[in-house]
């Protein structure tokens, strides 16, 4: 750190001397030491990203051009796995299920997170804000597998607590997890319940950072609470909304735990998401080449959707 502090700052145009300055002895060595330090820091991060992200992606990409059942030696398949993907109705359907559920999850997660954040931010003491922030964030800390098992019991058609209490008030039992639509809706609601704390915390922090003078000015100009929210606050926190939307969508497109544990992708294939289809194809049907091709297509789809989000953000997101 001392070495860093001793280096003359020359990053701003104003500070840069007009005449060339002769380097003092040792400056070159210091600069080199800094460079090595910088590359070492970046190198460590790069190493982790390379080993745990890039290499598996590259390996999957390579594998997607082979037929491989884990047991026999892999055989070259060329683009066969990708051709198969586009004619494989069940797998295409799983992508449809994933997109539909992801859209529902992101919309609900963002709108509910924003709604709760605005409520908490508006008329709550610091203690209340901290309390709600903790309360809404807690489900996110719970193990998804444990939550899914627990929810499976709660929403059981015959023996679940939810239907039991509904029955007490005369409402007939609802097939939460045993009808196609019921299972999709229930899983979306459970995911939103567990994940909403993430967007909520982001939005609370963003709303707190909206400059007071801007809010005061809008108040003086006669803007009511709703107009202030939609015309001032939301535009000002739009970068945070974009960030939350991107992260939520990426997570939702990889939905696996909840449907796998609660419904095993059923009834039928109603909650078989792309990642479940990938798992079944690879680990159950032993088609690891084809499973890798599905993974690559999903990766490209997520990249494309994220790209679209950033394109749309050019018009919708306001950077101060």
């Amino acid at each position: 750190m001392t070495a860093v502090a001793s280096v003359p700052r020359a990053s701003s145009r104003e500070e840069r001397p007009s005449q060339p300055v002769r380097r003092r002895p040792g400056a070159r060595r210091t600069a080199r030491r800094e460079a090595v330090f910088g590359y070492a820091m970046i190198g460590l991060a790069m190493l982790f990203v390379t080993v745990f992200t890039f290499l598996p992606i590259l390996a999957s990409l390579g594998l997607s051009f082979f037929d491989w059942d884990v047991i026999s030696p892999p055989t070259w398949a060329g683009l066969g796995n990708y051709q198969r993907f586009f004619s494989d109705e069940p797998v295409l359907q799983s992508f449809g299920v994933t997109i539909a559920m992801a859209i529902a999850i992101v919309i609900l997660q963002l709108s509910l997170g924003l709604f709760l954040a605005v409520l908490v931010n508006q008329r709550t003491s610091t203690f209340g804000r901290t309390f709600f922030r903790t309360a809404f964030y807690l489900p996110l800390l719970a193990s998804t597998a444990a939550v899914s098992i627990f929810m499976g019991y709660l929403f059981d058609y015959q023996f679940g607590a939810i239907n039991y209490y509904l029955g007490l008030v005369g409402i007939p039992a609802i097939p939460w997890l045993t009808s196609p639509l019921g299972a999709q809706v229930t899983i979306v609601l459970i995911v939103v319940w567990q994940q909403v704390g993430f967007t909520f915390v982001l939005f609370v922090a963003a709303l707190m950072s909206v400059p007071e003078d801007v809010l005061e000015a809008s108040s003086i100009d006669g803007a009511g609470p709703l107009r202030t929210l939609f015309r001032i606050k939301i535009p000002l926190i739009s970068p945070t909304i974009l960030f939350a939307a991107v992260i939520s969508l990426i997570n939702a497109m990889q939905l696996f735990d909840q449907p796998f544990i609660m419904t095993k992708g059923g009834p039928g294939t109603a909650t078989t998401t792309a990642t479940i289809a990938m798992y079944q194809t690879g680990f159950q049907n032993l088609q690891f080449g084809y499973s890798s091709a599905i993974a690559i297509v999903l990766l490209l789809l997520i990249l494309a959707i994220t790209g679209l989000q950033f394109l749309a953000s050019r018009k919708l997101v306001f950077y101060q």
């Binding site: 280096v7 020359a10 990053s11 070159r28 600069a31 080199r32 800094e34 460079a35 090595v36 910088g38 590359y39 790069m46 390379t50 890039f54 290499l55 590259l58 390996a59 390579g62 594998l63 082979f66 491989w68 059942d69 884990v70 047991i71 026999s72 030696p73 892999p74 019991y153 058609y157 015959q158 023996f159 097939p175 045993t178 009808s179 196609p180 419904t263 095993k264 992708g265 059923g266 009834p267 039928g268 294939t269 109603a270 078989t272 079944q280 680990f283 159950q284 049907n285 032993l286 690891f288």
Partner: protein
């Protein structure tokens, strides 16, 4: 800021080097990954080495695995003082789950020497030459094995572990699908205790009596899976998901391991050959529609998929009157708090036939093992009667040896009618687990839940038939 990184180390150069390194690493990673996972050529593994560590994958918890390892260790040392055994437990909800995890380990290049294999994975592993035929080992030790093992093991279990005429596994346990019932629930409903010759009509009458008794009790429950699901009704209805057949061969075993004229080996051949899919046969549609109609009539709840833990919990808490179970239910219900006498078991009710299903488990040697001879010696230890309770304490499965089926064994847990477990094997057929078992199980789960959700069996079974035809052609 760029300047702070100094001119001596070019960022472009470093990135270029990094990129080359990355590509190299990636290629090496893919290469070694694939190479590491590819199996060795059959026979190339060698079999003579008796030093080092024998690695075994065991279906169960690590505590039992460690107990097994500790009890086997002194015996293994007798084979060679430099040889040891390491037993690694793999947890799973069922054999399907266990098999998926074993395959993951193989994919990671960690193939063991020994592995527990059940009916579900036998043909898959044998057809892919992952496990080695035990024919030569069995033949070598036949004189001892005949009197100490085969004479005590039902030949149906041995035949279920054969594939294309070869024996790939030494079974030590099994579970046949019988019908469990809560004695208190049946008494309260005024239903008679099921007799050994009871029929589907009797079963249905009992279910209706339980329902008529009222309360929160459901007469029957089942689980979506291949073993002991609606498939038990399918077998009783004289059907199957796949055409039943047998591989030729196997005489090398039957003529030497059992006495000539033993009626239990009549018709035994070289293992079960699963043929053309028959998932949408009349028998299938009738069987699946029967359990769906039971649900519609309020005689059973919507079934869970796989595992069966929830079902055992519901049964033990008195919420379910009857369900399909095997010997493993004795220990399961006891552990869940049911006292002996509060539950009992009977043969699966007769429908168009008295055919029932079973699955069996035992030990196989990996083809890639360098220590096959030592592994065979360990298998011989594990199939000894005294090893059974070390591996399966508390009646968590049914002993494959008839000599271990005693009143004393079932006294602490029940059920009173424990003899049914073994006797159910007569006339039973193993679960239809072909080399493409995993894909079959996926389709079975999907199509069954689809049928239950829609309330109609036929369209979903037509779809399952199409699935299985496609899968079987591709396998």
């Amino acid at each position: 800021m760029a300047r702070a990184f100094g001119p001596d180390v070019s960022r472009r150069d470093l990135l270029r080097l990094g990129g080359l390194g990355l590509a190299g690493l990636a290629l090496a990673g893919v290469g070694t990954g694939l190479a590491g996972c590819a199996p060795t050529t059959p026979g190339s593994g060698g079999s003579g080495s008796t030093t080092g560590t024998l690695n075994m994958l065991y279906f169960g918890d690590q505590k039992a695995a460690t107990t097994l390892q500790n009890s086997l260790q002194p015996q293994v040392k007798k084979i060679d003082k430099d040889l040891s055994i390491k037993v690694t437990a793999i947890n799973g909800t069922d054999w399907n789950d266990f098999l998926a995890k074993v395959l993951t380990l193989i994919a990671a290049g960690q193939a063991p020497d020994l592995v527990s294999v059940a009916t579900e994975g036998l043909q898959l592993m044998a057809s892919k030459k992952l496990i080695t035929p035990l024919d030569s080992y069995v033949t070598k030790d036949m004189s001892t094995l005949k009197s100490t093992y085969f004479n005590d093991i039902h030949p149906a279990l041995v035949e279920a572990m054969m594939f294309e005429g070869h024996l790939y596994n030494m079974p030590d346990s099994f579970n046949a699908g019988s019908m469990f019932f809560n004695t208190g629930v049946l008494q309260k409903a005024g239903a008679t205790t099921p007799s050994p010759t009871w029929t589907m009509d009797d079963f249905h009458t009992t279910a209706q009596q339980i329902k008529s008794a009222g309360g929160q009790i459901l007469p029957f429950d089942w689980v979506v899976r291949l073993w002991g699901s609606w498939t038990s009704f399918l077998y009783a209805n004289d059907g199957n998901l796949l055409q039943e057949g047998k591989y030729p061969g196997g005489d090398w075993l039957w003529s030497k391991a059992y006495d000539a004229g033993d009626p239990s080996i009549a018709g035994r051949k070289g293992g079960w050959k699963w043929g053309t899919p028959t998932a949408n046969s009349d028998a299938s549609v009738e069987a699946l529609q029967y359990v769906i109609d039971m649900q519609k009539a309020g005689l059973s709840p919507s079934p869970d998929v796989g595992g069966g833990g929830t079902l055992q919990g519901l049964f033990s808490s008195g919420r379910i009157g009857m369900s399909i179970g095997g010997g493993f239910w004795a220990g399961g219900l006891h552990n869940a708090g049911m006292a002996p006498g509060t539950f009992n078991v009977q043969f699966f009710p007769r429908w168009k036939s008295n055919k029932s299903l079973f699955g069996t488990g035992g030990y196989s040697i990996f083809e890639s093992s360098q220590k096959k001879d030592a592994a065979w010696e360990v298998i011989k230890m594990m199939i000894q009667p005294e090893s059974f309770d070390i591996m399966f304490p508390g009646n968590v499965t049914t002993p494959g040896r008839k000599s271990l089926m005693t009143a004393q064994r079932y006294a602490p847990t029940g059920p009173e009618n424990w003899k049914v477990f073994y006797d159910q094997l007569d006339g039973s057929v193993p679960i239809s687990a072909p080399p493409y078992y995993n894909a079959l199980a996926t389709s079975l789960n999907q199509r069954t839940t689809q049928a239950v959700s829609a309330g109609r069996a036929k369209p979903s079974l037509d779809a399952m038939q199409a699935d299985l035809e496609k899968i079987s052609k591709g396998s």
